[in-house]
Symmetry: C2
Subunit: 200 residues, 2 copies
């Protein structure tokens, strides 16, 4: 939005450098996607050393998350849930997700609206989904059509979030977290562990 113009520096040189990196990263992710963007090229565009990016943001996924300016780091939420495996994963994802985002409704609503509006122009949240979340999710749920099932699972979560936070359709918009999880998680679990893949 601001391109290369920077306002008055508020936090001195470090803040300024950090913003330079984030600006270059937003452009790179939008133009080349998560896989296509390289830390080296982003460092070059921001006129800093690549080691400084690692110092501030860890890895490329961490840098991408930072460009989204979210109140909560989605990777820190999701990775521990996935690590527990596919059993009960639907309810775990939904409980954590709704609890976290209910507390930040306006931010999240804005993120969804921006992502839908800029989907054709490389919305950064989509880079995170395509480059990090979906591949990890597909690996955890495994089995036949894991990639497609991961994208369908994401559809369920995205749809619930949009109807609850953006479209605000009742009774979902005001329903308790417990009711949403009780009624919606079984359908998610049906994709995570479909009947024909079940061991039992």
């Amino acid at each position: 939005m601001t391109g290369r113009t920077r306002g008055r520096p508020r936090g001195g040189v470090a803040t300024d450098t950090r913003e330079q990196i984030l600006t270059a990263a937003r452009t790179a992710f939008a133009e080349k996607g998560f896989d296509g963007a390289s830390l080296r090229a982003i460092a070059s565009a921001a006129e800093v050393d690549a080691s400084l990016i690692r110092h501030y943001f860890g890895d490329k996924a961490g840098l991408l998350v930072a460009t989204l300016q979210l109140p909560v780091n989605p990777l820190e939420l999701i990775m521990p849930m996935l690590a527990e495996g596919p059993n009960g994963l639907g309810a775990r994802i939904l409980t954590t997700f709704v609890t976290t985002w209910d507390a930040h409704r306006e931010v999240f609503s804005g993120l969804i609206r921006t992502t839908v509006a800029t989907a054709d122009r490389g919305a950064p949240a989509l880079s995170l989904v395509r480059g990090v979340l979906l591949p990890t999710l597909a690996q955890v749920i495994g089995g036949q059509d894991a990639q497609l099932r991961a994208s369908l699972l994401m559809s369920q979560v995205f749809g619930m979030a949009t109807v609850r936070y953006v479209l605000k359709i009742e009774p979902l918009a005001s329903a308790s977290i417990e009711d949403v999880v009780a009624l919606y998680a079984p359908g998610m679990q049906a994709i995570i562990t479909p009947a024909k893949h079940k061991l039992s």
Copy 2:
């Protein structure tokens, strides 16, 4: 968008009157919602007799659908499916829905984007959902929390549609209709006929 200004009439007096009614209806639905808008008030704003609205559009739901300018009338698609009752409804909704909208991807993508962008300002598609689709769906699926389950079912369909047509996330964006139905409909059916409500 155009308010009361009308371009050069292209189809003579009838087309002009029809457009006058649709313009008044869009304003009324946006300001008062489906339930709050009355055919009488719309007729008055359009300076026509209410019987003319019934002649052109049937009833209020028909008028609302006409304001959306869709290539397919969603009520004509959905009502026969609902009439067959809740058994297998998930697969019927999904098959009909994806088959129809795959043929009109661009129109549908535009409708979703507009609805998300104007959700706070009375998006007309939301009037259709709130005023017609959800109440009918809740009545058909019945049982405990029918309204909430109907809004969660709508979340699933909306999420799938947005990821397939707007966000275009693979592999869902290019998956066959058969694969989408086989993997996604069971989760919809889990909301339509939850385990604890099943008769068997």
